[in-house]
Symmetry: C2
Subunit: 335 residues, 2 copies
Amino acid sequence: MVKIAIDAMGGDFGPEPIVTGCIQALKKKKFIPILVGKKDEILPLLPRRYRGKISIVDTDDVISMSDAATDAVKRKDSTIYKAMDLVRDGEADGVVSAGHSGATMTLATLRLGRLEGVSRPALAALMPTKNHRRSILLDVGANVDSKPEHLAQFAIMGGCYAEDMFDIDKPSIGLLANGEEKSKGNEVTKATYKILEGYKGFAGNVEGGDIFNGSTDVIVCDGFVGNLVLKSSEGVASTVSGLIKEYIRKSPVSITGALLMRKVFKLLKKQMDYEEVGGAPLIGIKGCAIVSHGKSGPKAIKNAIFQAIDYTETGVNEHIIKRIADLNEKQSTKG
Amino acid sequence: MVKIAIDAMGGDFGPEPIVTGCIQALKKKKFIPILVGKKDEILPLLPRRYRGKISIVDTDDVISMSDAATDAVKRKDSTIYKAMDLVRDGEADGVVSAGHSGATMTLATLRLGRLEGVSRPALAALMPTKNHRRSILLDVGANVDSKPEHLAQFAIMGGCYAEDMFDIDKPSIGLLANGEEKSKGNEVTKATYKILEGYKGFAGNVEGGDIFNGSTDVIVCDGFVGNLVLKSSEGVASTVSGLIKEYIRKSPVSITGALLMRKVFKLLKKQMDYEEVGGAPLIGIKGCAIVSHGKSGPKAIKNAIFQAIDYTETGVNEHIIKRIADLNEKQSTKG
């Protein structure tokens, strides 16, 4: 059975939503959960009947959001470090953490190591689209100043993820650029285009709007760009929802209207909600790490655990190793 | 009186909305409009009483959206080329075009030239924010692969625009990056940070979400990044509105609710609508060029004309020349 190590302490709201999410996951799926954190804080949150089903790895140190990610390697007793080492030692298959995302990515990369042939792991965001599917945007923050070879690998890794996790036969892979024409892009994306040209599923350049219209399954970019796209998109959504609320409050008629539209807003929220996917997978490492939002509630943690189980069971990592080897071979023949 | 040359043909819907927008502007403000385009198509759209107030520069050639921007320099009879040359020859002060934006930027830069000391002009988008103001995001597409020196100049130019056009005393200027800490950013933004450090109004790094929360007046980025942020933000807004419409249609109760909420949606649309600002100024050229959306209706054209008039009257260009000289001097002393 799949074993998932869960950082019980790292989230913004302490262990409560994380332990609750873990229990909710256990009610739905069979897996072995290992909570990593302060035992005396976790134990009181566990109903007696779950105590036998969930093991706890007791540790005191929690990397806080204000700590530097670079210090993470020294914090050997931190929840994230211990969770990664459970995977490293074969005692767990994957990690879910709502803690310091920089530390999670650094420790996953350093303690678990990269998959054979992979130069840089990439963080993938599962974005909501118009046609009710998710598009895979990567990298959204694991790397800045990526080179064309890195972006090409992100394309391959995103494609494998789409095939195995979303069951898409021939995922389309787009390169994020400032125009669809081949001539568009910056120096890095133009060079990436040349590497990917002719690759199965490569759909050429795609634009910012294509992330949300569902036209492309996998969208590749540098982590600096991906982070900005992600944060600005969240900013738009939050501004729109803030303005709607502000305008509604100004008129009783609108308040009535909003009450009648409750179902619409609920469906919309469900569609846009990051809690529905639970977290962003760091793709390209030996093992599995799901980076969840610091503000994750139980639902997000539950879904992140489901993602980690799926990730492990589908064998996406073996798939990636094979495809990256193909790419690297083609590249060396070309060069 | 300020003279504005208007590309009458370039928009997606032909001359009608552009001529109408021009007349609407004339009803509100005193200026001298010069419509550049096919006289026999424009004239029938002009009510008799406006024929004496609007002059027409007759030309047949229209650069279409599918043409390459690089060909624009050869199209000496095109509406955009002729409009720019009116400014070059002192017969107009500014240009408004809803035509080929690449051609407009290229011709503005080549025919009008850059302001003294300016290395690269930048296209500025006026973004809606939570607190009902507009933030200035630049560059959104005039340049890719900008160097730190370019980004620093964008910061100065954006600051001058905010002071003169938005009447902000001490505009705050942020550098778009993947985190607020000074250590965040890519190679280019980190080097830009060093140039801008200590500059009046420089607020350090800002994140994607800050574009829409109104915390910063001017936000600086490379044109590749700015284009992606702009397009993906439009994508989110259009996806949210599409989903709301889809969900509303599914239930009669929601339809009633939506009717009662009409005023809310109208206010929201007004707030987010690009037609309210009319277009994006290309900052850093000798003269003034407002790049409007191809789909601009009369309101957008009217507002773009108002922006061009304001731009000319406030003397923002002289302001930019002075500030850029200060920056370049400081840079050469530092170096």
